[in-house]
């Protein structure tokens, strides 16, 4: 058996991502002792019932004591308070990381609280499902997905290398970039897509001419795919938009500008312009399938057959 990347790992927060790290770390023998903290007693009890850790701590400082690596697995808006709470108990040389979907704001919130003798290496595994909570995690969540590291300038190279190795062992590919560039990339590949999904589901819920029952019954024409995205954790996503405001507003501006042009194409019956766009977008999807980030099974690999995809 290989040596664990971290003899003692602390997970601060144990939702979808935290519990998936636990499963994946155990599958890969990437961590020795796993110490878990949740500020919600019921969640901590559930994590214990699921056996996700080796010790469970109501106080985050207790969870991080003696830990070689600490990963914040919480909504980004809670990062600063969590960093303040764990800082006094951190071990010299420990690696502190996170999994937040926004990076510049997390750096600004967390870095000021940390002692100089720890290594801060922010991270973002680009993976998830529409489910949340400690029951939602599974070991394969990060397989063949990308984990982006955004170490501040001057971060200890060995610490970056150790976290890189940890994520590789969890199944992920690893890329390094600046927090600012990360936030722009994710604004277009994740944040704005979530925003427009939430928005159209909200629009559909408030029409006078079409009932909610009709929206649900006839959702297989495309709408249902948006509802998956719009079922993601509300706290996490509120924090994403509040903490990546500038990049989201910039990308949203581009989106609405393009949408206005498309609206004009429809109003004036410009079929060639529509056809040209609808053809071009297929190439992007082929690229995503080729990059291994999507299955090419039809209909997202949804099961087909009268019984299989009935409600469970």
């Amino acid at each position: 058996m290989t040596e664990p990347a971290f003899p003692r790992l602390a997970l601060i927060g144990i939702g979808l991502i935290g519990s998936s790290i636990s499963h994946a770390a155990r599958r890969a023998h990437a961590a020795g002792h796993i110490a878990i903290h949740s500020r919600t007693p019921a969640t901590l009890a559930r994590a214990e019932a699921l056996g996700l850790g080796d010790s469970y701590h109501a106080d985050p400082a207790d969870a991080v004591r003696d830990a070689d690596a600490v990963i914040l697995c919480i909504p980004v808006g809670a990062s600063g308070a969590a960093a303040a709470a764990i800082a006094p108990a951190l071990k010299p040389g420990a690696i502190v990381s996170d999994v937040g979907s926004v990076k510049a704001s997390v750096v600004a919130q967390v870095a000021p609280h940390l002692p100089a003798f720890v290594h801060f290496v922010p991270a973002h595994p680009v993976a998830g499902t529409e489910y949340s909570g400690p029951d939602a995690g599974f070991a394969a969540l990060f397989d063949n997905r990308w984990c982006i590291l955004t170490p501040p300038p001057g971060t200890d190279a060995e610490a970056v290398e150790r976290l890189h190795d940890f994520w590789r062992r969890l199944g992920a590919n690893v890329e390094v970039m600046t927090p600012e560039h990360h936030d722009l990339v994710l604004a277009i590949t994740s944040h704005v897509p979530h925003l427009i999904a939430y928005n159209i589901v909200g629009t559909a819920a408030h029409l006078e001419t079409v009932t909610q029952s009709e929206v649900m019954k006839f959702s297989a024409g495309g709408f249902r795919d948006f509802t998956r995205i719009a079922a993601s954790d509300p706290t996490m996503w509120r924090d994403v938009f509040l903490n990546n405001r500038e990049a989201v507003l910039e990308m949203l501006g581009r989106f609405t500008e393009d949408l206005a042009a498309l609206q004009r194409n429809i109003r004036y019956g410009e079929g060639d312009a529509l056809f040209e766009l609808f053809t071009r977008t297929r190439a992007i999807r082929r690229g995503i399938i080729a990059a291994g980030q999507e299955t090419d099974a039809p209909d997202f690999g949804r099961p087909h057959g009268s019984g299989e995809d009935a409600p469970g």
Copy 2:
């Protein structure tokens, strides 16, 4: 064995929907002889190689001769020309139907060409995948999905009942409404979702600050779900937007109005408003799962595991 709903069925067009009707009709013994026409010789040859029909016809008039039911399975923009081509060969008492995603425009295009001695019952099975062509069809596509019939006032009740029975035997649930109401419902549940999916994929392809390679690599955060929708058939979708202009522009207006409000929420840091919307949208998804229109498997039931969802 039960009697077929239609001793002789003609399919005008043999793409995803036409070929799925063939598979589903055979599974259910819902049609006797299946006559197939495609205006593209290669598609007709492919349909024959796949054994999708019992006879194959380069001339649509030949395909519909003696048919008890004729279903146009073509982009809605081609409906008028197809109706004109088949009209002289239709058998008295035949049912003429279609599968178009827009109904008022199809009624306006098709009805004037049809002789008084046939029954015109427009239909729209709300089902599909991102694939197109005769190879894309499968028998279970319509299982537990809805097929909407929009018979004009005064349509023969027995003809509506026979088409209703046919779609039930293909696995679908059937609902009847006016063409105008259909077009409003589908504008919000299908047409506008497709439009914004095409739009964001287009936006992402033209950024200066984020590369296409980055968009593809980090698409698992939400973007990839939009690319599936934006990979749908360009001709079909061009025709949908050109032929359902008013309803699409109306629903798009609601969408952009709501999006502007959300943009303000983000700009001014109004977290409570974001949280409230993000919570409300979850209820709609629960309704869709309860209505049997979506699986509740995480991540759309995408396979998880390092090998399984690698590129095929």
